[in-house]
Amino acid sequence: MARSRYLPDRGLTARMGLTMFLLGLLYVALIAVVTTQVGLGLGLVIAGGALFAQWFFSDRIALYAMNGRVVTPEEAPQLHGIVDRLCALSDMPKPTVAIADTDVPNAFATGRTPQRAVVCATTGLMQRLDERELEGVLAHELSHVAHRDVTVMTVASVVGVLAGFLTRIVLFSGLGRRGGRDQNGAPVVLIVLLVSIVVYALSFVLTRALSRYRELSADRAGAFLTGQPSALASALTKITGEMGRIPNRDLREAEPYNAFFFAPAIASGFSLSSLFSTHPTLERRLEQLGSISAQLGRPTT
């Protein structure tokens, strides 16, 4: 048996596992609270349904929102050639390939399964990066597809969305009406409200942490796929450096889709604390890619 060069990062796996476990605990807490208030169930079903639709149609929604255009191999031979080869290397079905006509240098991948995935690069990205760097970015995006990240992040965000929805229902309807008529109602409603707020706050921090771990995993898997961690690092440096110089109007349009992006579009003058950001810092990503580069260069004997 030949030795594998691809070593798992156990620390990253452990942190991600812990985050998922804590999110699972929040689900249990939320369900326990909801079962005390059967009337809230209908509202939650509606919120859940909306989220399901977002997951189910994720490929079309993202393409529409980003104004992405599906391109044929004849229209974009280079992009298709790179994706073809990466799919053959990683043995995954070829996703739909699209180009978004915007100067923001970025790429995204969505779709609920690898069979229904879309990979989209912006024209700004293709202008700024050379072939190797573009390949690195696409390998990162295809790793998101392989890891089912749209599904993972949708499931992870359900608890937060439901808790936020619950908070609003209780605040605007439940609290006033029920508290007035029912003597036992008020404390129960207050508990529901309190738990919802706490669950919402915790899930917000946890899903952001999970998103950052998924980004690091995609960087890692993408770098192993091409064997060129330094090309990906170079692409990251270029894109994040460019981010501050792009027009604000485009950035505001792009922001709701940050979680699917290769590098986050952060509006200038807005500093995110690392706890709340969907992507790891550039330094953290470059550090990981550097260690993969060293690992690949080491002789096996």
């Binding site: 192993f224 796929l225 260069g297």
Partner: protein, 193 residues
Amino acid sequence: MSWLGRLLGRSTPPAAGLDALFAVPGAALTLESATGLRPTGLGSVAFRAAEGGASAGSVAEAERLLAADGTPAVERSVDSFGYTWLLVRHDPADLDGVAGLVTDLHAVNSTLVDNGFGPSLLCSLVGFTGDDGRRLGLVYLFKRSTFYPFAPTGDQQQRDTAFELQVRGALGSDLPVEPDLSRWFPVWGAPGL
């Protein structure tokens, strides 16, 4: 990849299957009787060389290994997508014919796999040509252990899809042909075509 690997985001490129390549000599006979195409004696292996010294070292070792046979018949080139191609020549008039070519290709592949670069193997190609100038590459996908025909026509980047499908029909019982047509990606200008 296991569901746990996906959940934890630990996907790595799958290992390469090498053995299906030995079905090529039998298929070459079928191909000649069905379409009149004969092996050109050229074959190639494409892989993604990783950055750093370890990858370069194992490529050099594969070249040395084949040179030791007496025929230093490996040519290295890098295509526009950054993949390294090793072109192997083996005279089709030889006694062992296309079987000898496949053995040489297998030696290259094994060397790369032994050095831990099996997951970087992309595809292998065996060239065929007809008296009318038609060209066909039988492309082997390492990760799926399947083959597909690739028939470029003329100077433009065009392929003869009808002929490729005809070849698929002819070879269906000799080779595992890739069923998913979206994976029949074009390898324009590949060494050995």
